[in-house]
Subunit: 221 residues, 2 copies
DNA sequence: CTGTCATTCAATGATTTTATTGAATGATGT
DNA sequence: ACATCATTCAATAAAATCATTGAATGACAG
């Protein structure tokens, strides 16, 4: 029986939060919930995991104060309680990006092979959209697009891109975005567009960051 | 053998960082290293833990990119590689402070009993110091004070405070600070000073945050 | 070279976390 | 009431993390 002083008790609580972030699939759950509220089943489908497993992860995140759950009929909808969880995720990501050699290796090996250009910043995109210089495509699945997207963006899920190239004029630069800074879909989209002769770039991060930065968001009717 | 796509590999790396933050004593190590570089033995002494145990925790933090180690003769000095680790700690703390009921309980039960006043912000302190309105005391141990302190602050380790009350005039407000936002020493100092009739408040956070905010820092000769 | 000291390594058991399975719960619709 | 469906709970085994111990390493002093 160890005597724990108040500082140690506080640090145990902080550790609960960090521990909740310390599992790759829980981070992925956060990424998906950052697009909008979701039921357990919907999340399990997106991640390709058993429902009971996802349910347990969600409860771990809820106990850490990252999520709230609301019952809606038969379904339980989970959502991020606020931006602080996403901010914690982002700061953890920053540490890894700056100091882990393995991250560098993965980025060089996969991501830079698809898009080695500087991404577009939010501000830059907002300006170029206002001036009518770019076509913005949202490459996420339609359900995520419906929950909120960059005003004026066209929803072209990655799988549909080859069939819908004709919709995108070559006179304007195409800017693609999806769920976040390392969402593979926007990298794949940019690579595909370039190979077809389009001028294409990525947005530096995704929808949740756009929303968190206070930019206007359009929601499906 | 699971096939892991590049996103999952990245998330595993992010999880390594979060996992490293997911242990109360590793968080405490970060707090101490935020005061300045330290040897393994010195940290073990401060935390009251076996050296081998501390060594292992430090290596976990190093593998997560949070610390760097430099050999200096017989000693190995660990240090925070940059502010990003402290920022991650801070954002995890924010989640816990906002959403964990247990944190609220601990703060109410212990900390607010010692100091229920609004703490002084850095900017406010800088202004009031310039105008000569406050006496600033640094209640950390002398070795930490020596590695950097608020210019003009007096080092009064908490244990010495009762014997050194006479040094502090009652005409000026006394502001106490120590290692960080929930460092118990500054709470105890404020409580002790108030009980002796002094006007006393805490700085909202500690030395590492002062330094990270770009404020001037004085180092012992 | 030898002894000492700070640190790391390696091995161990104890504890915690994780994934899986199937049963229990709670709400809905017939 | 009954069947159905989404979710949670409970139990289990596998895996990871943790603290502890004592031996190995690497640097210095004599």
């Amino acid at each position: 029986m160890s005597i724990r002083n108040p500082k140690q008790k506080l640090y145990e609580q902080f550790a609960i939060v960090a521990k909740a972030l310390g599992h790759p699939q829980r981070l992925e759950l956060i990424e998906h919930l950052a697009q909008g509220p979701r039921s357990v089943e919907a999340l399990a489908m997106k991640l390709g995991l058993p429902i009971a497993n996802v349910s347990q992860h969600l409860q771990t995140l809820r106990r850490a104060g990252l999520l709230s759950a609301e019952r809606n009929g038969k379904f339980v909808n989970y959502r991020l309680v606020d931006d602080s969880g996403l901010a914690a995720f982002a700061s953890v990501r920053t540490v890894a990006e700056r100091h882990l050699a393995e991250v560098d290796r993965i980025v060089r090996g996969y991501f830079e092979a698809r898009d080695d250009m500087e991404p577009v910043t939010r501000q830059e995109l907002a300006t170029r959209m206002r001036d009518g210089l770019v076509t913005v495509i949202d490459v996420r699945p339609p359900d995520e697009f419906a929950l909120g997207h960059v005003p004026g963006a066209i929803n072209v899920p990655l799988g549909d891109l080859p069939a819908r190239l004709a919709e995108l004029g070559k006179d304007k630069e195409v800017v693609a975005y999806c769920r976040g800074p390392w969402c593979v879909m926007s990298f794949e989209a940019v690579a595909a567009l370039r190979s077809h002769g389009y001028a294409a770039r990525r947005l530096a991060d995704g929808m949740p960051e756009w929303r968190a930065a206070g930019m206007a968001v359009e929601v499906a009717a």
